[in-house]
Symmetry: C2
Amino acid sequence: MTATGRAKARTTMVDIASVCGVSVATVSLALRGSPLVNEQTRERVERASERLGYVRNRSAANLRRRVSTSVALVINDLANPFFAEFAAGVDEALAAAGYITLLGGTGESPDRQDVVIRSLMEHSPAALILSPAEGSFGSNLHSLLGYLLPTLVSNREVAGGDWDFLVCDNRYGAHLATRHLLALGHERIAFVGGHRSSSSCRERHRGYMDALVSSCILPHDAWVMECAPVRDEAAALGRQLPGLLPDVTAAVCYNDIVALGLMQGLAASGVQAGRDFAVTGFDDIDEAALFSPPLTTVSAGPGALGRRAAELILEQIEGGHHREGERKIVAPVELVVRSSSCPPLHGASTSTDGARDTGKDMKAP
Amino acid sequence: MTATGRAKARTTMVDIASVCGVSVATVSLALRGSPLVNEQTRERVERASERLGYVRNRSAANLRRRVSTSVALVINDLANPFFAEFAAGVDEALAAAGYITLLGGTGESPDRQDVVIRSLMEHSPAALILSPAEGSFGSNLHSLLGYLLPTLVSNREVAGGDWDFLVCDNRYGAHLATRHLLALGHERIAFVGGHRSSSSCRERHRGYMDALVSSCILPHDAWVMECAPVRDEAAALGRQLPGLLPDVTAAVCYNDIVALGLMQGLAASGVQAGRDFAVTGFDDIDEAALFSPPLTTVSAGPGALGRRAAELILEQIEGGHHREGERKIVAPVELVVRSSSCPPLHGASTSTDGARDTGKDMKAP
DNA sequence: CTGAAAGCGCTTACAG
DNA sequence: CTGAAAGCGCTTACAG
């Protein structure tokens, strides 16, 4: 843990001032385009600045002005396409607003998250966007963050946290997916993957229940199969599923990773998703469209979600960060229909409540 | 383009000093654990610091010390899993060395890249790691960067650039992939995807040629099919390939994205990769293992490559950045054999020069 | 229109 | 062992 990046001697305003025979105050004013300074002086200064390859030192400027032009972005798992696209969206929107992104990856470790946040805080970000590591605790984070820093938690809830929280509409999304399967004639539908301890999983499970109940189907307890949202575990469930639940014909999965893993596992048991079995995902990661069969899924769009997160935090920064207590911002989701992963139940009607399958990907609200 | 993140009044050393009845100089010394300061004074200062929730202001400290503890990381496409994993690797290694990552995504646009680099430079990074947007020009970048900033270009060469350059061993990697197919009995092997304008593509193509020639196979010009390294275009080639090159039985692809797209396209033409046709990729993105069939590919490991990039740049920072002219650092690659995408040619021997297929993923040097 | 001075939060010789 | 002072590069009232 050393860090001694020695900065080279850069051109400063003093250099420009001495070259132009003016004061640094004038240089500063000229470079910001202040109307106070004489047109010709400004031009002289600008040319000298250009010629000397001057780069403004924002740290010094921000220190003096007592402002910050950076936002800390802490991401639990950058190798996961969902979070990577989310981060790209955040960065894009921040850059457009003139802010810079201070990145911190935590690799899903709450301990590393503490270290990373502590380190980022020392660089005086104007705000923090946190996609928390699994197992993060609010009390712990509070002691790091204090109440001064505008903070937005995204994607996952933090137990015991009271920060603004951005999530996509998990309940409604799962509802959409389940209704889609119901419309295809399926009635025995499993809910696969995720853990009860995860808030997003609970919400999605509720959406699934909502849809079944409103179709007068009594959900069977055994239809819910928990597992960590990683491929291998989902694949393991896929291998077991045909044996355990032979009459189930479809599955609403916690997310795309689980759905993809499940389909692999099913295949290993001789059940071909998209022909013998219907599967839906959640997130619409790039792999969802690419997989064979392409996966019908639910999404707010990770990139769009990231941009939204940045907008929310920018509002809070510009607005002076009045805490009015925790807010929950729900981003709308849509069903992304790729018929291949969801065959209709044999002999059933294929009407899918309005979502026609054009053979290409299509989105239904 | 506004950025006015107003910093809240944070605790400073002045606050601690006044609480403890000592000078700020003493507080500074105490907090850095200087042996000069009295044990009890140090403890008092530390307790006060803790109690007041003090967070060191690195910008101020770095300004005074004339050092930087950040590194700029400019990435052409964060939504692409390869670059996302690369970025995660960079961030991880930088964090371990006490540096922070200033992230800038360019979305593959040289114009945005200019803006992003300019913005990052103002935050005084100790160095720059650049995975350049396609179409970047050295001359252009030089005018932004000057010669002061330690810079490492990674993944793709910049035309007219003379910075240190990190790449995986493209030529040898393609050689490995091609030899693998040859060993499976294939002789008519296409090279699919990428553009001649890309240095990595040219290198991989050379490795492919090397292998063919050393097996005394005369490569046919028509076997080389160019396309942008995106799924759709590769899929389009896949649809055409069986018609255009009916006797070709295998393809070495520019990268995984191309390979996956190609396999989709082939499937649309009734050719099933892994049964009727053999395909190899390059990069080993996560999707490669997940795809059906799992893809045999070549990789230096995007995460490992990122960590290596960070190490190289850290050396340069700590070492005082003596430019000894451009260096090219070649990261070793290995063949990742997943038999499913590469069936042996009908009736051929299945010996794959030493790489046994255990049914699970395995790596051959 | 321009300059001298103070100050952002910190660190570092230099006295004591 | 501790403090007063100077200074990193910039901006901002305040005089002139």
